[in-house]
Symmetry: C2
Subunit: 675 residues, 2 copies
C-alpha cells in the first residue's frame, strides 16, 4: 500500500494505487470533518466511498465550470446522512471550499447535516429516508420525457438530452416503503438510465439490519423488473463493471454493494455505533496510520485533487461539443421555442377555458377542463393520478397524451397506481430535474399519505402541483375515512407551501395558473366533488382577486356589520346566506389562498377584511382551529371539528349545519349571545 511518505513519486504510481490513496484522503477528510463538527455520520460514508469515488471520478458527466449544465448526469444521495461523503466529493471537484468543510454542520455554512439543494453540486435535499430514491426516479422520468419531447424537433435529442441518474441509497432507504413504490414504477416504466447503488452495510442506528429484516432485496427488485447486480462494494473493478452493465441495460439497475460499515477504520469496521457519531480521535489517528495518511487534519494533497480531475479536460470537451450541438439544434425555431418554454421556463400568457356564470360545476371538473386547456399550451405539463383518474378528472388528459410507459416514453400521463407518496416524491424529482412541470392527483384525505414529500418539496422550493379533489365531508357516502376535516389547515401550516381552495370553476382556472407560475413553492389545489355555482365575475376580476389571495365577492353599502370569510364550496353558501339576511349589512370575502393574502400589504388586507368595526364569520367545511387569526375572539368560526359520516352529501350538509338556514341560525344565535 502506498502512503503519503511516497507522495513525491505519485506520478509513477499505478492507477489503482492513485485511486486507493485518493479514496483514503477522502476518508480522512470525512472523519476529520465529522470529528470537528462533533456530530454527524462516519460509518456510512466510509462504506459507500468506494462506489461514490469511482462514480464521480470516472463516470459522472458534469461541467466542472457550471454545476447547472442542463444535460449533466444527476446524482442523488438518498442516504442524506452520508452528507460529508458528498461534500468531500464536491471539494475534489472544486465546488466546495475547505473552509466550508471545516464548518460542517455549523450555522450559515454550505455544509449542513444533510445535503440541501441550494448547495452547488447537490441535486436534491435528502435525509428523510426513501425520498431520495423517489426523487432520483423522478429525475430519470424527467430525463426520458424531456428527451422524447425534443426528439420531434432534433435528430440529436438523444445526445443533447440523454444522461444517467445515479442514486446512492442505504439499508434504511430500502426499508422505508415509499422507495419500493418508486422502484415498482421505475421497473414498470423501464427507466433504463437509472442506476442505483445500494450500500448494503447491514448496520443501522439500532444495530444490525437483521434485527428488522430478512428480506431478499435482490429478489424484490428483480420481481419489480430491475436488473440486479450484486457485488463486493469495495471491489473497484466490480463497481466499474456494474456501472457499465447498468449503462447499457434496458431496465433500471440496482447494484447491491455488500460493504463493511466504517470500511478502512483501524478497529471499528462493521461497528454500527459508527453510524451516527464521530469516531474517537485515537481511532481516527490509528485509521489515518492504517490508510497511509499523515496525522494532520483536513489533509488533501494537490496530487489527489489532480488525479481526481483527470477527466476534466474530456468533460470540458464534452460540454463544448454539446453547446455547439445545442446552438445548431436551436436553428430549428420550434426546437428553440420549446427550449425557451420548457427549459428556460418562459411561460406564455395563458388561455383559460370558458365557464358560464350560474352553471353548477364541481371544481374538480373545472380542474379537468383547465388541465386540458393548459396542456395544449404547455407541452411540458405532465402528470397523472394515483388511481383516481375518473374522480380527479384527468382521464381526458390521459387519453389525449397517453400513458408514460416503457414502450411509450413520450406519454405525458402517469398511471401511478394507488401510490400517493411515491407520486408526490417523484414529482419533486421531476421538478428538480427541470424541463417539465408535474402535477399529481388524489383525494385530499390522502394528502396525509404524501405529506412527507409535500414538506420536502416546500423545503426545496420545488414547483409541484398537487390536485386534491373530494375536499370536505361533501364527499358523502364514502364516509369518514375519505372525508378530509383537518387537511386544509394541516397543509396551511407547512412553511412555503401554497394552499388554494377555489370557490368556483373560474377561481379554479386561475389557481391552476398561479400554481404553474409559482416557481418557488409547491401548490395544492383543494377541489370539490360536488357541483358549485360559477360566480358572475369576468376572468380578469377573478384573476386580480385570486392573485391577492382574497377579495370581496359580494358587498354592501357602507361599512359592513358582518364580514363572511369563506373558501371553496362555502363561498357560495356564504353568498346565499348573505342574500337571505337582508336586515344586515354584509360583505362576503372569498379567500382561496391564505399565503398569497398574507403577502399583500396591510392596507389591502384591511380593505378586504377590516380589523375593527365588524363581526367576522369564517365558513369552511373543515377544522376551525386557525381561523381565529381572522375572526378574533368575538368572531364566529363555522366549520367542523369532528370526523364525518357516510351519507349522501345533502344529508350531511343538514346534519353538520352547512345549509344557509343553519348557518344563518348560528350567526343569529351568536349575535344574540354577544348582546
Amino acid at each position: 500500500m502506498r502512503t503519503y511518505k511516497e507522495l513525491d513519486t505519485f506520478q509513477e504510481w499505478a492507477s489503482d494505487e492513485k485511486d486507493q490513496f485518493t479514496l483514503s484522503v477522502m476518508k480522512g477528510l470525512i472523519l476529520d470533518a465529522v470529528r470537528k463538527a462533533n456530530s454527524g455520520h462516519s460509518g456510512g460514508p466510509l462504506s459507500s466511498a468506494d462506489f461514490a469515488c469511482i462514480l464521480f471520478k470516472d463516470y459522472l458527466n458534469f461541467d466542472p465550470d457550471n454545476d447547472q449544465w442542463f444535460n449533466r448526469d444527476r446524482f442523488v444521495l438518498s442516504a442524506g446522512h452520508e452528507s460529508m461523503l458528498q461534500y468531500a466529493l464536491l471539494h475534489f471537484i472544486g465546488w466546495m471550499p475547505m473552509e466550508e468543510i471545516q464548518k460542517f454542520r455549523k450555522l450559515h455554512s454550505h455544509t449542513p447535516g444533510h445535503p440541501e439543494v441550494e448547495i452547488k453540486g447537490v441535486e436534491a435535499t435528502t435525509g428523510p429516508l426513501g425520498q431520495g430514491v423517489c426523487m432520483g426516479t423522478g429525475m430519470a422520468v424527467a430525463e426520458t420525457i424531456v428527451r422524447e419531447m425534443f426528439k420531434k424537433h432534433s435528430d440529436q435529442a438523444d445526445e443533447l438530452l440523454g444522461h444517467f441518474t445515479y442514486i446512492l441509497c442505504s439499508d434504511g432507504d430500502l426499508q422505508e416503503p415509499v422507495s419500493l413504490g418508486a422502484a415498482a414504477l421505475a421497473g414498470h416504466w423501464g427507466l433504463s438510465k437509472l442506476i442505483m447503488f445500494y450500500d448494503s452495510n447491514e448496520a443501522q442506528i439500532s444495530g444490525k439490519t437483521g434485527r428488522s429484516d430478512s428480506t431478499n432485496v435482490a429478489a424484490v427488485f428483480e420481481a419489480m423488473q430491475w436488473q440486479v447486480i450484486e457485488i463486493d462494494g469495495h471491489d473497484h473493478s466490480a463497481i466499474r463493471d456494474a456501472i457499465e452493465k447498468g449503462q447499457v441495460m434496458d431496465k433500471p439497475t440496482l447494484i447491491i454493494g455488500n460493504t463493511t460499515m466504517a470500511k478502512g477504520s483501524a478497529t471499528m469496521e462493521g461497528d454500527h455505533e459508527t453510524h451516527g457519531a464521530p469516531l474517537p480521535q485515537d481511532e481516527i489517528d490509528a485509521t489515518k496510520n492504517k490508510l497511509g495518511l499523515p496525522p494532520e487534519a483536513f489533509y488533501v494533497p494537490d496530487e489527489c485533487i489532480s488525479h481526481f480531475r483527470e477527466r476534466f479536460s474530456d468533460l470540458a470537451e464534452l460540454v463544448h461539443g454539446w453547446s455547439e450541438n445545442l446552438a445548431s439544434a436551436k436553428n430549428d425555431s420550434e426546437f428553440n421555442s420549446l427550449w425557451n418554454l420548457a427549459v428556460e421556463d418562459n411561460l406564455p400568457k395563458f388561455i383559460y377555458p370558458e365557464f358560464e356564470a350560474g352553471n353548477s360545476i364541481a371544481t374538480r371538473k373545472a380542474f379537468g377542463f383547465t388541465l386540458d386547456k393548459f396542456a395544449e399550451q404547455l407541452p411540458h405539463l405532465v402528470g397523472g393520478s394515483a388511481d383516481l383518474e375518473p374522480s380527479n378528472y384527468t382521464g381526458n388528459f390521459a387519453k389525449t397524451y397517453g400513458d408514460f410507459l416503457k414502450d411509450n416514453p413520450s406519454g405525458r400521463n402517469f398511471a401511478f397506481g394507488v401510490r400517493e407518496f411515491p407520486m408526490a416524491a417523484l414529482m419533486n424529482g421531476m421538478t428538480l430535474h427541470g424541463g417539465i412541470i408535474p402535477f399529481g392527483g388524489t383525494f385530499l384525505v390522502f394528502a396525509d399519505y404524501s405529506r412527507p414529500a409535500l414538506r420536502l418539496g416546500a423545503i426545496q422550493n420545488a414547483r409541484t402541483i398537487h390536485e386534491f379533489t373530494h375536499d370536505s365531508f361533501f364527499v358523502g357516502e364514502d364516509g369518514p375515512t375519505h372525508q378530509p376535516i383537518e387537511h386544509a389547515m394541516a397543509l396551511r401550516v407547512i412553511p412555503n407551501f401554497k394552499v388554494f381552495r377555489p370557490a368556483d370553476a373560474k377561481e379554479t382556472a386561475v389557481c391552476f395558473e398561479l400554481a404553474v407560475r409559482e416557481t418557488e413553492a409547491p401548490s395544492a389545489m383543494l377541489l370539490t366533488r360536488q357541483g358549485v355555482p360559477v360566480l358572475d365575475f369576468d376572468m380578469s376580476e377573478v384573476r386580480n382577486g385570486v392573485a391577492k389571495g382574497g377579495y370581496i365577492v359580494m358587498d354592501c353599502e357602507g361599512n359592513p356589520e358582518l364580514v363572511f370569510i369563506a373558501t371553496g364550496s362555502e363561498v357560495s353558501l356564504a353568498m346565499e346566506t348573505a342574500g337571505n339576511m337582508n336586515d344586515k349589512n354584509i360583505r362576503v370575502v372569498s379567500l382561496p389562498c391564505w399565503e398569497l393574502f398574507f403577502e399583500q400589504d396591510k392596507a389591502y388586507r384591511d380593505s378586504v377584511i377590516p380589523e375593527r368595526g365588524c363581526m367576522k364569520i369564517s365558513m369552511e367545511a373543515g377544522t376551525t382551529l386557525g381561523w381565529e387569526k381572522f375572526i378574533g375572539p368575538a368572531g364566529l368560526a363555522i366549520g367542523i371539528d369532528h370526523f364525518g359520516a357516510s351519507a349522501p352529501n345533502k344529508d350531511l350538509a343538514e346534519a353538520f349545519g352547512f345549509t344557509s338556514k343553519h348557518v344563518e341560525q348560528k350567526i343569529r344565535d351568536h349575535l344574540e349571545k354577544l348582546l
Copy 2:
C-alpha cells in the same frame, strides 16, 4: 346449476350446490344494496366473494352470540371499498339486520361506505388502502404476544389464545407501499397465523393494473419470507386447500387469487367500470337470471341462511369449551391477575420514576426512564422504535425485554427498521386486537410519514402511544429536514387525537401515564432532544395540572399583566424570561395538552388563562398559526414560521430568537408598539 325454482329440494342439493347458490344470493344482495344506495362498489365484492364466503362459512372461528369473544379469529377487509361484501356476510351471521343493508351508505345506518370498527363484527375501520394489511398484521402480532405472555401461567395458552388473522386485500392495497413494509415485518417475524387473500382481479378505478404495474407480487412476498399460494380465486376447493395450507405453515401465507372483476355478472365480467359504481338495473336483472336468482330485490331465503350457519353448533361448542378452560386457567392467581390487567384493562395505580428538581434531563430521556418503570408494572406494554432506538431511549427496554422475533415470540420490543408508517398502522391493529398496549418511537418530523395511521387510529378510538422525540429546531445539526416546525399544530388539528408536549421530566412521566389511561384516543408525546430543567413541583401537583391540560407553573401577586403560555422546552424559557422581567406582573402557564385543557370547564380555563385584563404571549418552538386561539388579536405569538437550519442548537436558539434575552426584547417591543 341450481336455481331458486328448485329451492324446495334444497336439502337434497350437493354441498357445493348449496354453497354456490348461497354465494349467488349474497351477490344479489350486494348488487341490490349498491344499486339502492346509488353509489358504492360492485365489481370488487363479486370477485372476492368466493373466498370470503368460504372463509366465513367454513373456517372463521367466532362466537355467534358474542362478537367480542376474545379468542375469535380476526378478519380484516383491507379492501374497505368492498364493504357490502362484509355487510352481506354479517347479515348471514345474524349480526346485520336487513333494514341496515337497505340503508347502505345512508346517514345513521350501520352500513357506511367503508367498514367502521363500531359495527358489530367489523374488526377495523378500513378504506385508506394498505392500512388494513398493516392492521391485520398488527393483530397477528398481538395474538402471538398475548399467547406467549399467558404461556408462563397456563399450559393451555395455545388453545385459549391461539387464533388466526385473515386479511382480504386488493390490487390497490398491495400497490400502497405501506403494505410492503408490513409484509416485510410479517415475514421477518414469521407470523404463522396470518393468512392474507389477495383478490387479484387486475381491475382498478383507472383501468387495468397493467397500466401501473409489472410487479411479480408472488416473488416479492416470497422474498419477504411468506408462503405464497397462487390459485384460481373462484375455485372453491383450491380456496379450501390454500386456507388449510396457510393454517399449518410456519410463515405468513399469501393466497393470490386470480379472479375476475364483477364475477358472475351477466355481461360485465372483467370490466373495471364496475369498480366504483352500481351496476345498471338491467345488468342486475340479467345477472340474477344468470345466477338462478329471482328478480326480487334483497332476496335471502332462509335455506341459505341455515346453510351458512351449518357450523354454528360446532362454534357454540368451541366457545363453551373455551370458557370452561378459561375459568379453569383463572384458578391460577397470576393468570387471573394478568387477565384482569391485560385483557380486562384494569390498570393499577402507577409508580413513577424519580426526578430531581433542577437537574437537566431531556424529556426523551425521561420517557426512557418512565418506559422502564412502567414496563415493570405493565407486562403487556410493548413497543419499539423505527430504527432510532438510542435516540428514542428505548434501548434499555429492548435489552430488558428482547426483540419480538420468529424465534423469540415473547419479546416485547419491536425493531421496526426505518418504517414509521407501518409501525403506526401495525400499532392500530395491536390495539384493536386487545391484550397489549403498544408504543412506537421516531422523530417528530417523521410523524408526517405515519400520519395516515395516526388519523385512522383517531377515527377508531384506538389507544396507541406515539413517542415523537427531537421535537423542534433544537434538534440542531441534522438541519431543516429533521427539524419539526409545523408538526405540533398539524397533529393538534386531527380530531380525537391527544398531543402532549411536556415541559420537563415529571410532566413527561405524567403524560405517559395519561396516554396509557386514554383508552379512547391515540396520544402523541412530543419530546426534546436537548436537556431541560426538572421543575420544582411534587408529582401530585404535576399530575393534577397535566391532567387538566394546562396549569400555572409560576405566578405573581394579584392579577397578572402578562400571561406566558408555553409548552415543552419553552416552559423553562418562559419561566427564565419571567424571572428576568421583575418590573412586570407575570404568570407562566404550562399547557402540555390543548385537548385536555379544552375538556375543562370555562371557570377553570379562565382561572389559568384569563380571558381579559392581561396580555397573553405564547411560546412554542413551532408554527404560530393556531395560537391566536389563546392570545387574541393583541397578544404575541413567539414561534417559528419558517424551516430551520443545520447548526448546534444553542446557535439556532440565538438565530431564531429563543433565548430569554431575545424573548424579553420581543415582548418589550410588542408592548411598546401597542402603547
